[in-house]
């Protein structure tokens, strides 16, 4: 069996409205819609993610008292509930599609660190960040790096994790010039040699890469030499 999260719920002000939003506008499917008197257990799921249900729950008696329900409705309407993220294959296309269906976007798609993201809210006020991670193309880029090419890499720091997991061990890394955000990695073995990676910012790197970055003064000197034009790897 698969272990893990089964249902995670959000509060909505009106379950019919929420159902319309998540199913008709966002393309979720109804998983369970069960009523018991005034109480309605309503969950939806993403078509690509059958193991997780998103609960659309109305704060109401008898599960909670009237005053608490009012407070929760206020909190949701203020946009103060915790962040939610929706991963999509193509952020701009999804933005076009959803906007045409009347989804209220609070941030247009923006590209940063190789990812594209946009923000929208559901009718109740729950805020979603819609993210296109672009893992695929960058993974391919990393394989090109592994074959020995020296490339500039502009991608998500998450993809640098991928370098490890796809079997191209990082022997080291160094900041070429912090302000220009060059990262240089070397590989062990037959294809040993430095690889230039251009990344968004060291600040956004995974912790293990940050450690490497700060632990390799020798590489930093080497790269300074490269910058000065006294050494070339091509």
């Amino acid at each position: 069996m698969n272990q893990g999260v089964g249902v995670a719920g959000i509060y909505v002000r009106d379950q019919d409205e929420a159902l319309d939003f998540y199913v008709e506008k966002l393309g979720f499917r109804v998983h369970t819609d069960a009523r018991n008197g005034d109480y309605r257990w309503l969950t939806v799921q993403h078509p690509d993610q059958p193991s997780v249900q998103l609960g659309l729950f109305k704060p109401q008696p008898p599960t909670i008292d009237e005053a608490t329900a009012q407070t929760l409705n206020e909190i949701v309407a203020k946009g103060a509930m915790p962040p939610l993220t929706l991963v999509v294959e193509d952020c701009r296309a999804a933005h076009e599609r959803f906007r045409a269906r009347g989804v209220e976007f609070t941030q247009e798609p923006i590209e940063r660190f190789g990812n594209i993201d946009a923000n929208f809210r559901d009718p109740s006020g729950n805020g979603w960040k819609m993210i296109e991670t672009r893992r695929g193309p960058h993974a391919r880029q990393i394989f090109q790096i592994a074959s020995g090419a020296r490339v500039n890499f502009k991608g998500s720091p998450n993809d640098l994790e991928h370098v490890d997991s796809t079997g191209s061990p990082l022997a080291g890394a160094s900041v070429h010039d912090h302000r220009r955000r060059y990262l240089h990695f070397t590989r062990r073995g037959a294809a040993a040699g430095p690889i230039g990676l251009l990344c968004a910012a060291t600040a956004t790197l995974p912790a293990h890469v940050q450690r490497l970055v700060h632990a390799l003064p020798a590489l930093r000197r080497e790269l300074a030499a490269e910058e000065a034009g006294t050494v070339s790897y091509s």
Binding site: R13, Q70, T71, N73, E74, V76, A77, K78, G79, P83, T85, E104, T106, Q107, E108, R112, F113, D117, N119, R121, S124, G125, K129, I131, P157, N158, H178, R179, A200, A201, T202, A203, T204, L205, P206, A207, Q210, V213, H214
Partner: protein, 166 residues
């Protein structure tokens, strides 16, 4: 005076519309957001907007806008090589002097000091989506900028009264 514990409950439908004004300031904090424009977004009368907004979100709308501008300026100082002048104009100030002064009033250091410090110290906010990182860097401005300044520099007289001060 208002109860320290905060305002009484507000209509969720009103709050949802006030949230729209806050969202629009978030999306375009470099733009001008006079009360009539915000009130229109929220469908609230101009007379009631500022109080309703403060009751909902804890700060007056203009002060909220300042925190977003400063937050954005801090991110640009940290993550880009753009000049401080460019950053000032891009984040919505009409004068470099006003930007520098309010930046210092709010953060306690000048834009160039912050840039130097951020460049020197590695950040640990890895794997956190951008918006939450930026929220973590948002200045927590609980008093008016003018008040903060007065408390900081009691001995200095301030003749000017710039429009950016809420």
């Amino acid at each position: 005076m208002r109860d320290k514990r905060g305002p009484a409950s507000q209509d969720p439908a009103l709050l949802r519309r006030l949230l729209r004004a806050k969202d629009q300031m978030d999306a375009a904090s470099h733009e001008e957001w006079p009360v009539p424009r915000l009130a229109r977004v929220s469908g609230v009368s101009e007379a009631h907007f500022a109080r309703s907004f403060k009751d909902a979100f804890g700060v007056p709308p203009h002060r909220y806008l300042l925190t977003r501008r400063i937050e954005r300026a801090k991110a640009l100082l940290r993550d880009t090589e753009r000049s401080i002048t460019e950053i000032a104009f891009d984040t919505g100030w009409n004068s470099l002097g006003t930007f520098g002064r309010i930046f210092r009033d709010i953060t306690g250091e000048s834009p160039s000091e912050l840039r130097a410090r951020e460049k020197a110290a590695p950040q640990r906010l890895t794997e956190v989506p951008h918006c939450f990182v930026s929220a973590a860097h948002r200045p927590n401005l609980t008093i008016a900028v003018s008040e903060k300044r007065r408390r900081g520099t009691d001995d200095n007289a301030h003749g000017s009264n710039e429009e950016e001060i809420p």
